[in-house]
């Protein structure tokens, strides 16, 4: 038996997981997302990263970015290192990729703001 707290939404359900592999059973979840989260935590825990990337624009020295989908938890610091190598020198929009397919994880690093487009 394992206890987990679901981090999908602010409700933060306390999950109890019993069994292993195919026979896994989850209780304490309010919705289906809780079960999916528990299964993923037991097999390959994933997380998102929200961070910033340097820009070439002094009025907006950093631009907020995130990964387009969750990545394996143990890759967080490697992906951070990739993001910290980049300097954005084009005025990109929200949703545009800063790094495509980062570390071959099939996930892009994308801008979460269009603030550079508003610079004159």
């Amino acid at each position: 038996m394992r206890e987990l707290v679901c981090i999908v939404c602010p409700r933060g359900c306390s999950l109890t997981i019993e069994g292993e592999g195919e026979g896994i059973s989850v209780s304490g979840n309010f919705c289906k997302k809780g079960k999916d989260f528990a299964v993923s935590e037991m097999t390959e825990p994933k997380r998102t990263i929200c961070t910033t990337v340097k820009t070439a624009y002094p009025q907006c020295p950093v631009l907020p970015v995130k990964v387009s989908a969750d990545i394996p938890k143990d890759k967080i610091f490697e992906v951070m290192a990739e993001i910290n190598k980049i300097t954005v020198n084009k005025k990109i929009a929200r949703g545009d990729a800063v790094i495509e397919n980062v570390l071959g994880l099939n996930v892009d690093v994308i801008a979460t703001s269009s603030m550079l487009l508003k610079l004159d």
Binding site: P10, R11, T52, V62, P64, M115
Partner: protein, 419 residues
């Protein structure tokens, strides 16, 4: 002096939602924001978790804010950024709002006000810590501003006091950027932040959370060099003999938020000592007619979705409040008329079936009664004769005449041949 139905103060999610809904409910709106960009505190909240209720999506703060800013821009609502509201004066039918910006000092008139000024963080002054006053002691929101907007790391090795959500989120954020977060210390016996944040911000990164502990002393001349931590009892009093010294270059405070209500207080709006925000009715109108409050200025919300919702309620009701007010223009008469009733039109009301009574000043034969809008005839009716003792009445559709506050309505009688 420029005049509006609704002036919204604050361009965060609450103010944006209020301005949009006031506009959609027919009001003329001005939004005033002291910073250069709209979006409020969300501009620096780059983490995700916003908008789950409203958009069923996990958005980052900037994404949520920009969705609203774009809606706001589509509505073509007047806005002033880098503009402070310094003073508000109550006038007979509304308020005089004094603004300061690069162009100098300016005043606008408004019938209704929406206060959406957000909240501020409790600072070191509001928690009891002994010792020197070195730099390196700041709030979690300040740390967030430095890291996420300026791209400057405010600490290398830090201690966080208080387990509020902003502190937890900054513990993770600073760790991601390579700082060492030595621990989060909370004087209460339970954490103040969401359980989810304890897990994804602390446990995921092996950052220890120490409940029933507080910072009792700070050390350092120019810059912080260490803090003293003590255990506290149930009454949150430090227990002697439990002190430990921890070397660090920053102490980050996450000890709570207080609604920002300086403007409301200056207007003598009644505050609720429990929420520290204005006491309001179901329309979110405060103790003063025409002043509405929403978002974190009203009470500290944990979800931005509810902030936007309260903005919409306040904005809509501010617009309805203005409609319930009179917006009258005069019906003037030329010297051919003795009098006319009504003398005024309230543009906030339905005037499509207005009965107009009038008498001519003299006996007139073969004449035309006309209603002129800004000098142009918009209605006319021929009469074989008009006589002062005989009152005339007409059913007039004033609502179809596209009237506004500046329209001039005049009643006149033209006589073709006065033979």
């Amino acid at each position: 002096m420029k005049s509006y139905d609704v002036v919204v103060i604050g361009g965060g999610p609450a103010g944006l939602a209020a301005a949009i809904s006031a506009k959609q409910n027919g009001a003329s709106v001005l939004l005033v924001e002291r910073e250069a960009r709209l979006g409020g505190i969300l501009k620096q909240c780059i983490h995700d978790g916003f908008g789950l209720v409203r958009f069923k999506e996990k958005l980052s703060g900037p994404e949520y804010a920009e969705r609203f800013t774009e809606l706001f821009e589509e509505e073509k609502i007047d806005s002033l950024t880098l503009t402070f509201v310094t003073r508000i004066e109550k006038e007979k039918d509304g308020f005089r709002v004094v603004l300061v910006n690069r162009n100098g000092v300016e005043a606008v008139f408004t019938k209704a006000l929406v206060l959406a000024t957000g909240c501020r963080e409790r600072t070191a002054k509001q928690v009891m810590i002994h010792g020197t006053r070195p730099s390196g002691v700041f709030t979690a929101g300040t740390a967030q501003h430095f890291t996420n907007l300026l791209g400057v790391m405010p600490a290398k090795k830090c201690v966080i006091l208080g387990s509020g959500d902003i502190g937890l989120i900054m513990a993770r954020r600073l760790t991601l950027e390579g700082a060492e977060v030595l621990g989060v210390y909370e004087a209460k016996s339970t954490p103040s932040g969401l359980t989810r944040n304890i897990h994804q911000c602390l446990n995921d990164y092996n950052i220890p959370l120490h409940l029933s502990h507080t910072v009792t002393r700070v050390f350092g001349e120019d810059r912080l060099t260490a803090v003293e931590i003590s255990r506290v009892d149930e009454r949150m009093t430090p227990i002697e003999g439990t002190e430990t010294i921890i070397e660090c270059d920053a102490l980050i405070l996450s000890v709570g938020l207080i609604p920002e209500n300086e403007l409301a207080e200056a207007l003598s709006v009644k505050l609720d000592p429990r929420t520290k925000g204005p006491a309001v009715n179901g329309q979110l109108m405060t103790s003063i007619d025409g002043i509405f409050s929403c978002g974190n200025a009203l009470h500290v919300n944990d979800l931005v979705d509810y902030v936007s919702e309260s903005g919409e309620i306040a904005g809509k009701n501010a617009a309805l409040y203005c409609k319930a007010q009179r917006k009258e223009i005069d019906i003037s008469i030329s010297d051919k008329l003795l009098y006319a009733v009504p003398q005024k039109l309230d543009l906030n009301k339905d005037n499509s079936k207005t009965t107009l009574y009038f008498r001519s000043r003299d006996v007139l034969n073969g004449c035309t009664f006309t209603i002129k809008k800004d000098g142009e005839p918009v209605f006319s009716k021929k009469y074989a004769f008009l006589r002062p003792p005989e009152m005339e009445n007409l059913l007039i559709d004033f609502s179809s005449m596209s009237l506004n506050e500046n329209s001039k309505i005049e009643l006149d009688i033209e006589v073709k041949n006065n033979a």
